[in-house]
C-alpha cells in the first residue's frame, strides 16, 4: 500500500524526516519497501501484514505514526452536512436478504452533481498512490477509500430501477458486466448488489458498468456498507478478481469508520461536484465494541524476556487506542478499540508491547536446551550415503519432484498408479513422480547437450505412488544414471572405462559394504539388467534406457545406464552396531585358480561350487580377475579365482591344502567344462 508524507501530515503533526520515518515504520512492523520523492511529496510503499487491516489507510498509518513518534494525531471532526430539501423526492428502499452477509448497508443520495475531471490536488494524490483518475465523483470514493480505509461505491441513481437496492446472493446463471467491460456469471456463492431486476455490482468487489457514474450522471447514490469478509473473498476468488475494496473487506473494515467515510465523501462531492444532499438511508446495524482482555503483567516478561515497566505498558497501550483499568496488582483489564478486531487474547497485547518497545532493545539470551534426541530420521544416515557416492565420483543433482505426463510416457513409465496435481500451473507440474529416473535421464540429456562426455549423477529424493487401496505413499529413493566413458588417467597413460551395468553394481556394492547391508544380491530377473534383492525382496534395479527412450530424449549414439533403489529399505536394513571379529591367529595359504569358461557359464554357481568344496578350509575367496580378448577363445572368458585357505585353531600345511585345492579345480573342470590356464 502507498501513502504520501503530505497526506499523512493532514492527520499527524510530523516533525520527523521522511527517511527516518520510513525506518521507524519498518521497525514497528510496517515495512517500508520503497520511499520515493515525487513531485514535492514522498511516497512510502508499505507492506501491510494481513492481520492489520486498520493500517490500510492514511489515517490508520497516521495513528501508528503518532504512537511511535509521539506526533499529535489530528483526526477529522465530522458533522453531517444538512439535508437539502429537494422537490419531488422519491424515497429509496434498501433490502438485505441475509444480515450475516451484509450487517449494514447505508446509502446517501446526492442530486444534480456536475461530473467533471477532478481538481489537480486530488488527481495528484491519487496518482501518487497508484490510482488512475476517472472523474470527480469516482475519484472522491477512491480518495476516501485510501484516506479512511473504508471502500465506497457511487451508483448512477437513475440507472437503479424502481429506486431500490437489494443485497442478495447471485442467482444461477445471472450475468453482470462489470466496469472493466467483462461479462461475468455470478451464483449463490457470490454476494451482489441488485436493483429490482438484476445485479448492479458484485458486493465489495467491483461495480457494474450499467450503473457506473459517467459524464451523463446527474444523481448519485453513495454506498457505504459492511460485507461478510469470507463472502467477499470467495466472490473475488471465484471471479478471479482483485480490487482495493475487496482487499479491505476481506481483511475486515473498521465499522466505526463507515459513517465517517461516507460523510467525508459526501462533503467532498458537495464541494467538488456541487449537487444537493437529499437523502440518507440505512439498513442493519453493527457491533462497534472492541474486545476486553485481562492482561497479567508477568506474561509480558515470560514471553519476551524483556523487562518492560508498567508505566511504559500503560503509555504504549493508550497511545495505540486501548483503554486500561487496573483489576488487581499486576493485572489490567484492557479494552481494545473497535478498529482492532485482531486483538482477542493476551498474546496480541504482548505483541503490541514488544513491537513498540522495540525488538532491538531486547537483549539476546541463549536458552538452556534440554533436547530429546529423536532418532530414526532417514537423514541420520543419508549424509553418509551421499558422501559415499560422492567419493565414488558421482555428482549430486536435485530435480523437480513434479513432472509432466509427457516425460513419463517418453520414458515408458506407466501413469497407472501415479498421483496427479489438481491445480498445476503448467504441464511440468502435472504428476508427482513415481520414479527418479526420467528426471535424471533428462538432466543427463541436458548435460550431454552442454558437451559433457562422461556423466555420472545421482539424486536422493522421495518418489510417490498410490497404493492399491488408493492411499498415497512416499518413499525415499536413490537414483543414479551413468553415460559415456570415464577417463582414468594412470601412470601408464589414459585409459577409458566405458559405463555399464557393472559400474552400477560396483557402486551399489561399495554402498552396501560401507553401510554393512547383509543379504543383498543382484540377479537377472529377465526384466531388468539386474534386480537388486535384499533377502527375497526386490528393492531396486539396474537398467539401461531403451532405444526409443533415448530417441525421445534426444540422446544420440550413447547408452545410458540407470540404477534405482529404495533407500528406505536400505537404511532400515543397515546394521547400525558393528561387531569386531578377532583377527586371524594363524597364517593362511593363498592359491589362485585361472580358468577359461564359456561366456555364459553360470558364475554364481561356479562360486557356490568353490565354496562348497573349500568347506571349512576356505576362509575367503573372490574373483580377482576376469578377461575376454586376446589369447582367449571367442565366446569364452578367463576368470581368476583367489582362494585363501585358513583355519582358526592351527596353521594349515601345504599337504593338507593341496588335495582340497586340486578338488576345487577338478570340480570346475567337471561341472563347468573349465580349462585351466
Amino acid at each position: 500500500m502507498k501513502v504520501t508524507y503530505n497526506w499523512l501530515k493532514d492527520f499527524a503533526q510530523l516533525k520527523i524526516a521522511p527517511g527516518r520515518l520510513a525506518e521507524k515504520l519498518t521497525m514497528a512492523g510496517l515495512e517500508v519497501v520503497s520511499l520515493k520523492e515525487i513531485a514535492g511529496d514522498f511516497v512510502f510503499e508499505i507492506e501491510i501484514t494481513s492481520n492489520r487491516p486498520d493500517w490500510l489507510s492514511v489515517i490508520g498509518v497516521a495513528r501508528e505514526v503518532a504512537a511511535i513518534t509521539g506526533a499529535k494525531l489530528k483526526l477529522p471532526r465530522l458533522t453531517s452536512p444538512s439535508l437539502a430539501k429537494a422537490a419531488g423526492l422519491q424515497d429509496f428502499a434498501i433490502e438485505i436478504e441475509d444480515k450475516k452477509d451484509c450487517p449494514l448497508y447505508t446509502a446517501k443520495i446526492i442530486k444534480n452533481v456536475k461530473i467533471a475531471p477532478s481538481p489537480q490536488w486530488l488527481r495528484k494524490r491519487l496518482e501518487l498512490v497508484g490510482c488512475r483518475s476517472v472523474n470527480n465523483v469516482v475519484d472522491i470514493t477512491n480518495y476516501v477509500l485510501f484516506e479512511y480505509g473504508h471502500p465506497l461505491h457511487a451508483f448512477d441513481l437513475e440507472r437503479l430501477r424502481f429506486s431500490s437496492i437489494i443485497i442478495r446472493r447471485g442467482k444461477s446463471q445471472e450475468r453482470i458486466t462489470t466496469i472493466d467491460a467483462e461479462e461475468r456469471i455470478v451464483d449463490r456463492d457470490i454476494l451482489v448488489i441488485a436493483d429490482k431486476f438484476a445485479p448492479v455490482a458484485v458486493a465489495g468487489v467491483i461495480g457494474g458498468i450499467a450503473t457506473q457514474v459517467s459524464n451523463n450522471t446527474r444523481n448519485v447514490l453513495l454506498e457505504a456498507a459492511i460485507f461478510d469478509p469470507l463472502l467477499v473473498r470467495r466472490g473475488r476468488q471465484k471471479l478471479g478478481l482483485q480490487s482495493e475494496a475487496a482487499y479491505r473487506f476481506e481483511r475486515g473494515v473498521n465499522p466505526k469508520m463507515l459513517e465517517a467515510a461516507s460523510l467525508r465523501a459526501t462533503d467532498l462531492i458537495l464541494e467538488l461536484a456541487a449537487g444537493e444532499y437529499v437523502l440518507s438511508r440505512s439498513c442493519g446495524a453493527i457491533k462497534t465494541k472492541g474486545n476486553s482482555i485481562l492482561l497479567d503483567l508477568k506474561e509480558v516478561g515470560r514471553i519476551s524476556g524483556a523487562n518492560i515497566r508498567t508505566a511504559e505498558i500503560k503509555t504504549t497501550l493508550s497511545n495505540l487506542g486501548f483503554s486500561i483499568r487496573t483489576r488487581a496488582k499486576g493485572k489490567f483489564l484492557v479494552e481494545a478499540p473497535a478498529f482492532r478486531q485482531d486483538v482477542t487474547m493476551t498474546i496480541d497485547l504482548i505483541e503490541e508491547l514488544v513491537r513498540i518497545h522495540g525488538y532491538e532493545k531486547i537483549m539476546a539470551s541463549l536458552p538452556a536446551l534440554k533436547p530429546q534426541p529423536i532418532f530414526g530420521s532417514a537423514r541420520d544416515h543419508l549424509g553418509l550415503v551421499k558422501n559415499i557416492l560422492v567419493g565414488l565420483g558421482l555428482s549430486e543433482v536435485i530435480t523437480h519432484s513434479l513432472v509432466s505426463s509427457q516425460l513419463l510416457s517418453d520414458c515408458g513409465v506407466s501413469t497407472g498408479s501415479t498421483i496427479s496435481i489438481k491445480n498445476p500451473l503448467s504441464k511440468e507440474q502435472e504428476i508427482l513422480r513415481p520414479t527418479l529416473l526420467p528426471s535424471l535421464a533428462r538432466c543427463l540429456a541436458y548435460n550431454l547437450n552442454q558437451k559433457q562426455d562422461y556423466i555420472a549423477i545421482f539424486e536422493t529424493a522421495k518418489v510417490f505412488t498410490l497404493s492399491s487401496a488408493g492411499t498415497p505413499q512416499e518413499d525415499l529413493f536413490l537414483g543414479i544414471v551413468l553415460c559415456g566413458e570415464k577417463p582414468l588417467l594412470l601412470t601408464k597413460g589414459l585409459a577409458k572405462e566405458e559405463s555399464g551395468p557393472r559400474q552400477l553394481k560396483g557402486i551399489a556394492e561399495s554402498l552396501f559394504n560401507r553401510l554393512d547391508i547383509q543379504g543383498h544380491s543382484f540377479i537377472n530377473d529377465g526384466i531388468d539388467k539386474a534386480a537388486i534383492l535384499l533377502g527375497q525382496e526386490k528393492i531396486g534395479a539396474i537398467t539401461a534406457l531403451g532405444k526409443e527412450v533415448l530417441l525421445r530424449l534426444d540422446i544420440k549414439n550413447k547408452e545410458v545406464f540407470c540404477l534405482e533403489l529404495s533407500l528406505e529399505k536400505i537404511l532400515a536394513a543397515m546394521r547400525k552396531e558393528r561387531k569386531f571379529n578377532p583377527l586371524p591367529k594363524y597364517p593362511g595359504i593363498e592359491r589362485d585358480i585361472s580358468i577359461i569358461v564359456k561366456e555364459d557359464a553360470p558364475i554364481r554357481e561356479i562360486l557356490a561350487s568353490v565354496k562348497e568344496i573349500g568347506g571349512e578350509y576356505l576362509a575367503e575367496f573372490k574373483i580377482s580377475d576376469s578377461y575376454q580378448g586376446k589369447q582367449i577363445p571367442k565366446g569364452h572368458r578367463s576368470l581368476t579365482l583367489s582362494c585363501l585357505y585358513r583355519l582358526g585353531d592351527r596353521t594349515l600345511t601345504e599337504a593338507e591344502i593341496n588335495p582340497v585345492h586340486a578338488q576345487v579345480s577338478a570340480k570346475l573342470k567337471e561341472r563347468f567344462g573349465a580349462s585351466m590356464r
Binding site: 524476556g305 536446551l369 549430486e396
Partner: protein, 338 residues
C-alpha cells in the same frame, strides 16, 4: 696412497649423488669387500712398522666417516622429500593421479551446514512427509483455510478423494513432532516444499526450507534472538549486523523477520539488497498459543520459538548466485564449482 685425497674425492662424490642406485654404487666402490678402503687396509702390512698404527687409525676413521655420510645421504634420498633422477623434475607438473570425486549439490551443502550449526547448539534433525493434510499444513498452525493470511501459501492439491496437498512449508512437521513428543523439544526440519509459483530468476515451484523450533518452560523471545544470532554469524561471518523486524505469521506471535546487513555492500545499499542495506533471511517468532492448544500443550506452562528459512535464498546470498533456476538445471559446470 693419500688418504686425505681419497676422503675428499669420496665425500664430494657422495654429496653430489642423487639416486639410491648411484649411492649404492659408491658404497660398493669405497666400502665394498674389494673396495678402495679394503685395498688400503690390505696395504697396511707393507708399511713401515712405525706408520702402521697411525694409518690403521686413519683408515678406520675414514671408514666410519663415509659410512655415516652414506647413511645420511640414503635417508635424505629415500625420505619424504626424496628426489630420483630417473624421473625428471617435470614429473610434478603433470596432473596428479587419482580417481576424481563427485560433489554434493550446493543446496545439500548449505542444508548440511545449517543443520550442523543447529545440531552443535543441541537441536535434533527430524523430517516429515511431503504429502500433508490441510490440518497439519494450515489449521493446526492457526492458519484458517479461508483467510487472507493463507494468500502467502499458495498450495498444490492432489487429485485424490482425501483433501491432501504438497506441503507449502516445513512447519507441518512442528505439528507432527509436538503431537508425538512432550517438551522439552529442540529440533530442525530440513526438506522440500512446493508452491504454485510461476518460475523466474527468484521463484521456483519447488524449493527447500529448514524449520526450527524450541519448546520448553521459560523459552523467551530473547532466546530466539540469541539462537538466530549464533546461526547467522556462523553462516555469514561474525562481522554481520542483524535486525529483528516485527512481522505477522499466523503461527507465531510476536513474529519477526530477520535481516542481516547486506553481505555484498556491507549495508551501504546495492542492487542485491534493493538499496536498503539489509537482506531478509528468515521468518521467526514465539509459537502461537493456539498452535500449542492444537497439539495439546498447555500454553500457560510452555513457551517456544520457531523459525524458518529458504535454503535457496541462503545459498544464493552465500555463493553470489543470481538465478534460482540454476539449482534445478543441474548443469555439471555449475555443480562442479561447489
Amino acid at each position: 696412497m693419500d688418504i686425505e685425497l681419497i676422503k675428499k674425492e669420496a665425500e664430494s662424490k657422495i654429496e653430489s649423488v642423487n639416486s639410491l642406485d648411484s649411492l649404492e654404487e659408491l658404497r660398493f666402490k669405497y666400502l665394498g669387500r674389494k673396495g678402495v678402503l679394503a685395498e688400503l687396509t690390505g696395504s697396511i702390512p707393507s708399511l713401515p712398522v712405525a706408520q702402521r698404527a697411525d694409518v690403521g687409525r686413519q683408515v678406520n676413521a675414514l671408514k666410519e666417516g663415509l659410512n655415516k655420510l652414506i647413511e645420511t645421504k640414503r635417508a635424505s634420498l629415500s625420505g619424504p622429500l626424496a628426489r630420483e633422477s630417473s624421473r625428471g623434475s617435470a614429473e610434478i607438473d603433470l596432473p596428479g593421479l587419482a580417481q576424481g570425486l563427485g560433489q554434493l549439490h550446493p543446496i545439500s551443502q548449505v542444508m548440511d551446514r545449517v543443520c550442523e550449526i543447529f545440531m552443535r547448539m543441541g537441536f535434533t534433525v527430524i523430517e516429515g512427509p511431503e504429502i500433508e493434510t490441510e490440518h497439519n499444513n494450515f489449521t493446526g498452525l492457526n492458519i484458517p483455510l479461508e483467510h487472507p493470511s493463507r494468500d502467502a501459501f499458495d498450495t498444490f492439491y492432489l487429485e485424490l478423494k482425501a483433501q491432501l496437498l504438497l506441503r507449502s512449508h516445513t512447519s507441518p512437521v512442528q505439528i507432527r513432532a509436538m503431537k508425538k513428543n512432550k517438551p522439552p523439544l529442540a529440533a530442525v526440519v530440513p526438506g522440500r516444499v512446493y508452491r504454485p509459483d510461476a518460475t523466474d530468476a527468484s521463484h521456483s515451484y519447488m524449493f527447500h526450507q529448514i524449520e526450527g523450533f524450541v519448546v520448553d518452560e521459560n523459552i523467551r523471545f530473547s532466546d530466539l534472538k540469541g539462537v538466530l544470532e549464533v546461526f547467522a554469524k556462523a553462516v555469514f561471518g561474525s562481522d554481520i549486523k542483524m535486525r529483528f523486524r516485527p512481522h505477522f505469521f499466523p503461527f507465531t506471535e510476536p513474529s519477526a523477520e530477520v535481516d542481516i546487513s547486506c553481505i555484498i555492500c556491507k549495508g551501504k545499499g546495492c542492487s542485491v539488497c534493493g538499496r536498503k542495506g539489509w537482506l531478509e533471511i528468515l521468518g521467526s517468532g514465539m509459537i502461537h498459543p493456539n498452535v500449542f492448544r492444537n497439539v495439546g500443550y498447555d500454553p500457560k506452562k510452555y513457551t517456544g520459538f520457531a523459525f524458518g528459512m529458504g535454503i535457496e535464498r541462503i545459498a544464493m546470498l552465500k555463493y553470489g548466485i543470481d538465478d534460482i533456476r540454476l539449482f534445478f538445471e543441474n548443469d555439471l559446470r555449475f555443480l562442479k564449482q561447489f
